[in-house]
Amino acid sequence: MSAQAALPIQSHILSILVDNEPGILARIVGLFSGRGYNIESLTVAEVNNAAHLSRITIVTSGPAPVIEQIKAQLGRLVPVHNVHDLTVEGPHVARELALIKVAGSGEKRVESLRIADIFRARAVDSTIESFVFEVTGTTEKVDAFIKLMQPLGLVDVSRTGVVAISRGATPL
């Protein structure tokens, strides 16, 4: 829509509580692809085993009316309990975990360790010529760490995508 093309595009973190039933992820992902919405990251895991509930965290982007439409469309799916837009609902914590493989020797290897220390990343695997670092933080922090590792022998990156939760005592 041309009218919406002019609106600023914003990134939103959506937290969706769903019944953990077969096909639920396909339903959510199919909705995004079928209606032409973006997914920047998606995480999913069961959060309540007894009640068979999973929480899906999706980072999506679009103009405000599109984000509203995404939430309404998600809310319409039968196995969806609720949809929360953490970006607009108030203070929240958002974190990503990444595993980053760096190979090198000599000064580069030492430098990667020093930077890992600054980022509070832990080496969770080591060989004579490589490390696997585990780093947790905001998307920006993980991005920054990966960027710094690039010249130091970055081999592989595996990251979880954003998980998020609201601050304070009340549940979502």
């Binding site: 829509m1 096909g23 439409q69 039968v78 196995p79």
Partner: protein, 593 residues
């Protein structure tokens, strides 16, 4: 006690399904057997509560179920086999999704241990139907069967209605399981909002009372909310004296002959309805979704109006058109609330302004946009429908249609007095819808007159269902407006593509009279305007399925027309010069459907 004991007994999955259907009040199933549903067909064989209607193609089964659902208000039920049975049902399911029709579709599936092995007649039914159903289930355990069937009926009929698929692997159909009655099943999450928020209702009636140029714009939501919603809408129209227009899906919500009714709006809507929508200051949309056939070019849609939008589905709000007051709720309930808020608040319409508004509307009406001239030689399609209307208006008649010009003419020239009398494929625009839908309608209304207004191209898409009509002695009438063209395609090619009629001529047509006879139906033909009344009388009189082949003007176009990309008040009329606004299509419009 006896019931409890019976419920503790086990039975086969197939029997569980049938028992659950019976307890849901199902009287008729539309289906087609095959390997993966044989146990269910065996269970059907052993009972008498449910009647099975054998269709000739699974698409026909779903459309028949839709016709049944739309005319009775009860969900339609379909039973098809795995693989091709399921994929053939997909068009019907998508049609039911887009028009919000409650349908339960049971599909057979290969045994659970074979799923994923590319077994014979296997397909990923839940995967394929996920985007074209409201919800779907794959049942892997007979113990879940009764609950899933009851849940499926709840989901299909509550909130915004829609199709639900239940995929039933063959081993689950023969497994033993326990039965649970519908009273014991409550859906975990799905609780659509029915009641409108009181303060928003108050705001709505305040806006209505202040309105100078109001209009009610109502759609299929009124029909889906049940006949009471139509009664309430009529009451509210009477209370306020406001004009009302209906979408294609919403025809029959108010009487087609009521002076408050401006006719259908949209791409082939009336001059007065579209102008009133464009110039109104308060628009009250109840159960319609600002479809692109209604709005025309979005940035020119009713620019000066305050929009109230009542819809049971929150995702309909602000999807394409931003509304100023969005009310989530069931159309019937919200109308009730509006009427009581209006009465209790002692609200009165702004009579002086509304009178002035009506004077303007009467000027638009005087344009007489549906005027046509019937000559002596060739039957005008509009005339054929007008005569059909005049000949059937004094009895309770149900009309279905295929898709194309004939459908729009039917919507324009046939006037409906009651809801649930008009069954047409709106959202998906499915050619081949009308005949199977008519079969479903006839089953729900034995003894009533059911007419499928068809085109010669559309009718061929599900012509095989004449066999179903013959087998079950369903005296449906197929009224074919035969112009030897895919008329709407031809019209667009004439108006938008320089008259290059690429592939739109209906070449090598069958002899429809002989075709009807070959299917044990009656075939009639009419080529002369003077004979039309007689042929219609004969069609009505014959208590058997009849196909009438009416030869109509081949070059007739459907007007008014809002060309694609034009504003909704820029309509082409037949007597307009080509230079009139809207008569040419913008480059952007060329890319729109």
């Amino acid at each position: 006690m006896a019931t409890e004991q019976r419920e503790k007994q086990t039975m086969s999955g197939a029997e569980l399904v049938i028992k659950a259907l019976v307890d849901q009040g199902v009287e008729v199933i539309f289906g087609y057997p095959g390997g993966a549903v044989l146990p269910i067909y065996d269970a059907l064989f052993k009972q008498n509560a449910i009647r099975h209607i054998l269709v000739r193609h699974e698409q026909g089964a779903v459309h028949a179920a839709e016709g049944y659902a739309r005319s009775t208000g009860k969900p339609g039920v379909v039973l098809v086999t795995s693989g091709p049975g399921a994929t053939n049902a997909v068009t019907g399911l998508t049609d039911a999704l887009l028009d919000s029709i409650p349908v339960i579709c049971l599909t057979g599936q290969v045994a659970t241990h074979l799923i994923g092995s590319d077994a014979f007649q296997e397909c990923d039914t839940t995967g394929i139907t996920r985007p074209c159903t409201k919800h779907n289930y794959l049942v892997k355990n007979a113990e879940d069967l009764a609950r899933v069937v009851h849940e499926a009926f709840y989901v299909a009929t509550n909130g915004r209605p829609g199709p639900v698929v239940i995929d039933l692997p063959k081993d689950v159909q023969v497994q033993q399981g326990h039965y649970t009655g519908p009273q014991n099943v409550r859906h975990k999450t799905y609780r659509p909002r029915v009641e409108g928020e009181a303060d928003k209702i108050r705001q709505a009636v305040e806006l209505m009372a202040k309105a100078e140029r109001p209009i009610f714009y109502t759609g299929g939501g009124i029909i889906n909310a049940g006949p009471k919603a139509s009664e309430l809408l009529r009451e509210l129209v009477k209370l306020t004296g406001f004009p009302v227009t209906n979408t294609l899906m919403g025809l029959g919500a108010v009487s087609g002959t009521d002076k408050h009714f401006l006719g259908m709006l949209g791409m082939h809507g009336t001059w007065e309805a579209n102008h009133a929508m464009h110039d109104c200051d308060v628009m009250i949309n109840i159960g319609a979704r600002f479809d692109d056939r209604i709005t025309g070019r979005l940035n020119a849609f009713s620019p000066g109006s305050t929009k109230i939008h009542v819809d049971i589905d929150p995702s309909s709000h602000n999807k394409t058109v931003r509304a100023d007051l969005c009310i989530v709720g069931d159309a019937c309930r919200v109308l009730e609330q509006m009427i009581s808020a209006w009465k209790e608040g002692g609200f009165k319409p702004n009579t002086k302004a509304v009178k002035k508004w009506w004077a303007q509307i009467d000027q638009w009406r005087a344009r007489d946009c549906l005027h046509f001239t019937q000559g002596k030689d060739i039957i005008k399609p509009q005339y054929a429908i007008q005569r059909l209307y005049e000949k059937t208006r004094n009895r309770d008649t149900f009309i279905t249609t295929e898709v194309g010009q004939h459908q729009m003419w039917a919507a324009q020239y046939y006037k409906f007095e009651q809801p649930n009398r008009w069954m047409t494929s709106g959202g998906l625009g499915t050619m081949g819808y009308g005949l199977p839908a008519a079969i479903g309608v006839q089953l729900g209304h034995p003894g009533k007159l059911v007419v499928d207004i068809a085109g010669e191209a559309s009718i061929l898409m599900n012509i095989q269902e004449l066999g179903t009509a013959a087998q079950f002695r369903l005296p449906v009438k197929v009224f074919v407006l035969n112009n030897e063209y895919m008329g709407m395609v031809r019209q667009w090619q004439q108006l938008l593509h320089g008259g290059r009629y690429s592939q739109s001529y209906s070449e090598s047509l069958p002899d429809f009279v002989k075709l009807a006879e070959a299917f044990h139906c009656v075939g009639l033909r009419c080529t002369n305007p003077a004979d039309l009344d007689g042929v219609i009388d004969e069609m009505i009189k014959i208590d058997r399925p009849v196909l009438v082949d009416v030869a109509v003007d081949k070059a007739e176009n459907c007007f008014p027309m809002v060309p694609s990309g034009a504003a909704h008040n820029e309509m082409i009329l037949p007597d307009q010069p080509a230079s009139a606004p809207g008569a040419s299509v913008s480059e952007e419009g060329m890319a729109l459907v």
